[in-house]
């Protein structure tokens, strides 16, 4: 069949070498005989080249040497498999646990809080007794029932003694109060930069980072977290320092490689954290101060921390 003229889309496909050979033969025989289509082919080729040139201006500056394929393989193997459901569940469970512990600690950190614990204990469902209805007993999960039957409270003859026993258990050494804070600032395991995060004493943080982790001078530090370096990484680790202002508000100073800090900040946004953040970049490192404060205050803080960091 003789072609009348070649449609535009076919000319593009022809020049992009996206047509079957048989179709190309037909087009070429038509082009040989049709000056109009030849002119359109040339115009289409020019348009195609122009597009390529324009897009070529949008090529990023090559700043880094890409990792070798072997290195990429090693990283892929070293990285734990992504199991979204279980990880998310584990993360949710750890938040609940930490919040629960923090809540409990609020009431058990001193003598005045004992009545509060007692109230909690009183609010707990009573262990199965002779007066408990069978329906209540059957609702207790096997695990928790075993735990309760194994507790000394079961042998206590009076409710008062049972409560005393539970109070004694509540007085076991508490985890540090900062756990409650750590749930806000600790990145989840699924963060793309996840190494191991540890809450460490200040001296250890200094040791790991090589110097004092950046923080706002004169404000009490309530928690320091350090992300342990991965095998192939050099330099200072990512540090997160939580501090409490006299108003009770928390501020967090994050310092580390640009990508890692951005990933953390981005993760906070993903989790609906509405705290503001101000950052300043120095070479390949990024410093960020976050908190529920006006942008001007945060900006002043990040500048202050940055200035102190430069002096160090």
């Amino acid at each position: 069949m003789m072609l009348l003229h070649i449609p535009d889309d076919e000319l593009h496909a022809y020049l992009d070498q996206a047509l079957p050979r048989s179709r190309c033969v037909k087009l070429e025989s038509h082009l040989a005989a049709c000056p109009g289509c030849r002119a359109r082919r040339d115009a289409t080729a020019a348009l195609r080249d122009r597009t390529t040139l324009l897009l070529a201006t949008l090529t990023p500056e090559r700043k880094r040497i890409p990792p070798s394929y072997e290195e990429l393989q090693r990283r892929a193997v070293a990285r734990p498999a992504r199991r979204f459901l279980w990880r998310d569940l584990a993360w949710a469970a750890s938040i609940l646990l930490a919040v629960g512990v923090g809540y409990g600690m609020r009431f058990s950190s001193g003598t005045p809080t004992r009545p509060a614990v007692a109230q909690q204990v009183a609010a707990l469902p009573a262990p199965p007794t002779a007066t408990a209805t069978p329906a209540v007993v059957t609702k207790v999960a096997p695990e928790s029932r075993r735990e309760r039957t194994a507790s000394p409270a079961r042998d206590s003859s009076s409710p008062r003694e049972r409560r005393e026993a539970m109070l004694a258990r509540a007085e076991t050494p508490p985890p540090p109060r900062s756990i409650q804070i750590s749930t806000d600032s600790l990145p989840p395991e699924t963060a793309p930069t996840a190494g191991l995060w540890r809450t460490v004493p200040w001296t250890e943080a200094k040791e790991q980072a090589g110097s004092a982790p950046p923080r706002v001078d004169g404000v009490p530090v309530v928690e320091v977290q350090v992300q342990s370096r991965r095998e192939h990484e050099q330099g200072r680790p990512v540090t997160v320092v939580a501090q409490q202002l006299s108003s009770g508000q928390l501020i967090t100073t994050i310092e580390g490689p640009v990508d890692d800090v951005w990933a953390l900040l981005s993760r906070r946004g993903d989790q609906g954290d509405t705290a503001g953040a101000e950052t300043v970049r120095q070479g390949s490192r990024l410093l960020a101060v976050t908190g529920q404060l006006p942008a001007d205050s945060l900006r002043a803080m990040v500048r202050r921390v940055n200035a102190a960091r430069r002096v160090q």
Binding site: D8, D9, E10, L11, H12, A13, D16, A18, T44, L47, R48, R50, T51, T52, L54, L55, T57, L58, T59, P60, E61, R62, K63, R64, P66, P67, Y69, L72, Q73, R75, A76, R79, A81, R82, P192, V258, D259, W262, L265, S266, G269, D270, T274, A275, G276, A277, E278, T279, V280, R281, Q282, G283, A295, R299, V302, R303
Partner: protein, 170 residues
């Protein structure tokens, strides 16, 4: 499969970086995301790795764009060392000129419809018509039509933008 992936990595890595850069407009982030794409490919071992790589890259870029919007809401970047700036810049004038040109092309690209832009970027990344069709859900026969329209619109939009900027400077 490993050999195929390795070959794909060697030949396509820069194309994936470019593809991502034209979506996230951050050179460092584009490289990070490209590495993430290939690490995922190593874990998943897709049957059609080339098409799969660009599909994942597009998804990551979309997620990144959403995160960037959130960041812009909350953050003000006080950048002492702006990202994307070439470390060995030739001269201030040349840099300004190049920046302007890039901005004009970027505006022109942004003026395309999402589908036209996607097809054009996938084509420029080296995907074949059937691969673009698979990725975008278009018929293979519609790729030529879409590309014809996208190319024309890109060049027209760029020239309009360029003329507008030239008139503003004069």
């Amino acid at each position: 499969m490993a050999d195929e992936l390795e070959q794909l990595y060697q030949t396509t890595y820069q194309a994936v970086v470019r593809f991502l850069y034209r979506k996230v407009w951050d050179a460092d982030r584009a490289e990070d995301l490209a590495q993430e794409v290939f690490m995922r490919a190593l874990s998943h071992r897709p049957e059609k790795p080339r098409s799969w790589v660009f599909a994942v890259a597009a998804n990551l870029a979309r997620d990144e764009a959403r995160a960037a919007i959130r960041r812009r809401r909350h953050l003000t970047l006080l950048s002492a060392d702006p990202a994307g700036r070439p470390s060995s810049a030739p001269s201030a004038d040349e840099m300004v000129e190049e920046d302007e040109r890039q901005a004009e092309v970027r505006l022109a690209l942004d003026s395309l419809t999402p589908r036209d832009r996607e097809v054009l970027l996938l084509w420029d990344a080296g995907l074949s018509y059937p691969e673009i069709a698979e990725r975008t859900g278009l018929a293979v026969g519609a790729i030529g039509t879409t590309l014809a329209r996208a190319r024309k619109r890109l060049v027209d939009a760029y020239e309009r933008q360029h003329d507008h900027d030239a008139a503003a400077h004069s």
